[in-house]
């Protein structure tokens, strides 16, 4: 247990990038100190730890220099704590597929949600929703192939893509409510819909995600800062 008290995580509750690191720390039963950052007034520690991007999450492990970028932090934790709940598979081809899809979710898929937010008017939003539907159907195929009939993208247990997409769910649910539509549904993405219910009630995830009030405030801030 000596390793487990040496971890500090600089983060902010509404960030799903931060949440995913928390999810992994919880899955691996690693204790950590959470340092809540005010993203409107970043601390000296954050600015010196991440001078390139000035962003959360930042992981500080013992006396090592900080580790940055959520996916990189997750791979680091997975390697150091490899014997507790492995996140990435050991097979090189499966690892490559996991990395490819995590990257897809973080770039293409996430960008569509940003586009949705920034597109004014119902007609415009409808067009973006069409693209989102196509992307969600693609992820349904990925789920079917990856899970191979089991509960998660990772198989019997939560894996890399489960962590990446699972933590994004809080934001997805917020967007669904705001726009009065469904991202995942019984017709287009039945397996993913079942998966969302499953992962949403996972013990290790519950602690990692923030409530809707924080998301509402975060959304409002984004509308002002990045309209």
């Amino acid at each position: 247990m000596g390793k487990s008290c040496e971890i500090k995580l600089l983060g902010a509750a509404p960030s799903h990038f931060v949440n995913r690191v928390q999810f992994v720390l919880n899955l691996k039963s690693i204790e950590y100190e959470f340092i809540d950052e005010n993203l409107n007034c970043k601390s000296e520690l954050l600015l010196t730890s991440n001078p390139v991007h000035k962003k959360v999450p930042v992981l500080i492990h013992a006396n090592k220099p900080p580790i940055l970028e959520s996916l990189i932090i997750i791979e680091y934790l997975d390697e150091v704590y490899h014997d507790i709940h492995p996140i990435l598979p050991s097979d090189p081809l499966e690892r490559a597929h996991n990395r490819f899809w995590a990257n897809y979710i973080d770039t293409k898929y996430f960008a569509l949600f940003e586009e949705l937010r920034r597109t004014p008017g119902q007609e415009g939003k409808k067009e973006v929703k069409k693209q989102l539907d196509e992307a969600s159907e693609l992820l349904e195929e990925v789920f079917v192939k990856s899970s191979n009939g089991k509960a998660y993208f990772g198989g019997d247990d939560v894996g890399y893509i489960d962590v990446v997409l699972g933590c994004f769910l809080a934001w997805i649910k917020f967007v669904e409510k705001l726009n009065k539509f469904k991202i995942f549904d019984e017709v287009r993405t039945p397996k993913l819909l079942e998966w969302t219910n499953r992962i949403w009630s996972h013990e290790a995830l519950k602690d990692a995600i923030c409530g809707s009030e924080a998301l509402t405030n975060h959304y409002a801030m984004l509308q002002i800062k990045k309209p």
């Binding site: 090592k64 220099p65 990189i72 791979e75 690892r95 490559a96 990395r99 490819f100 990257n103």
Partner: protein, 217 residues
């Protein structure tokens, strides 16, 4: 079973070149399949339906896309000289710089080329370069990977060869070389590595291509 390794790419692509360098580091024999980017092969579209881009590595019929994902796959799948550091922390650091190069640096320098050297664009590209210069200074090594090249060197290869070709095509200087002595030295060391030298495209054709691409005929 005989191993089958194919690479769908385009001669001159910096991203395709990353994969070729990685394959060479491991001594892997492969078939190079030149793609016409205006008329992509049915195989390429089948192997990379999401992005429809090169490079795609096909290993025993299994396709892998995205250059950094491919390079890490090559390191995972084959023994031989390592491409990633062994230490978990150093791996994280290498991945960070590879991501920085792809998400921050290359878009910034590309913007400067597209604008034919707008002052603000050059400034921004140089700001990103400074981070890489500092990294080399701090480590004090020949390469980002130490005595040998690693993932970061492979990704930063763009600076060593492609940037210079684009500058020549446009008759501008974007990488203000006297500001970056460590990087300038690194460029020379990198392009002189055998595995790199063997895979660089002919400079003249690249300059001609960039003249066309950036609209400077």
């Amino acid at each position: 079973m005989a191993e089958e390794v194919k690479l769908h790419s385009f001669r001159g692509s910096p991203y395709g070149c990353r994969v070729e360098i990685a394959l060479n580091i491991k001594g892997i024999k492969y078939d190079f399949i030149q793609e016409d980017l205006n008329n992509k092969s049915p195989d390429l579209l089948k192997y990379n339906p999401v992005y429809k881009k090169i490079p795609v590595l096909v290993h025993n019929g299994n396709p892998i896309s995205e250059s950094v994902v491919i390079v890490e796959y090559i390191d995972d799948a084959w023994k031989g000289a390592p491409i990633m550091p062994v230490d978990a922390y150093e791996k994280a650091r290498a991945r960070f710089w590879a991501k920085f190069i792809d998400e921050k640096f290359i878009p910034a320098i590309f913007k400067a080329f597209v604008s034919h050297g707008e002052e603000q664009d050059i400034l921004e590209a140089n700001e990103q370069l400074q981070f890489l210069e500092n990294e080399l200074k701090v480590k004090g090594n020949k390469f980002f990977g130490g005595d040998n090249i690693n993932l970061v060197d492979i990704c930063a290869g763009y600076i060593a060869f492609w940037a210079g070709a684009a500058e020549e095509a446009l008759g501008i200087e974007v990488v203000t070389r006297d500001k970056f002595p460590k990087l300038t030295e690194w460029c020379h060391n990198y392009t002189n590595c055998q595995v790199v030298k063997d895979n660089l495209p002919p400079r003249e054709s690249l300059v001609a291509y960039y003249k066309w691409l950036f609209g400077k005929e």
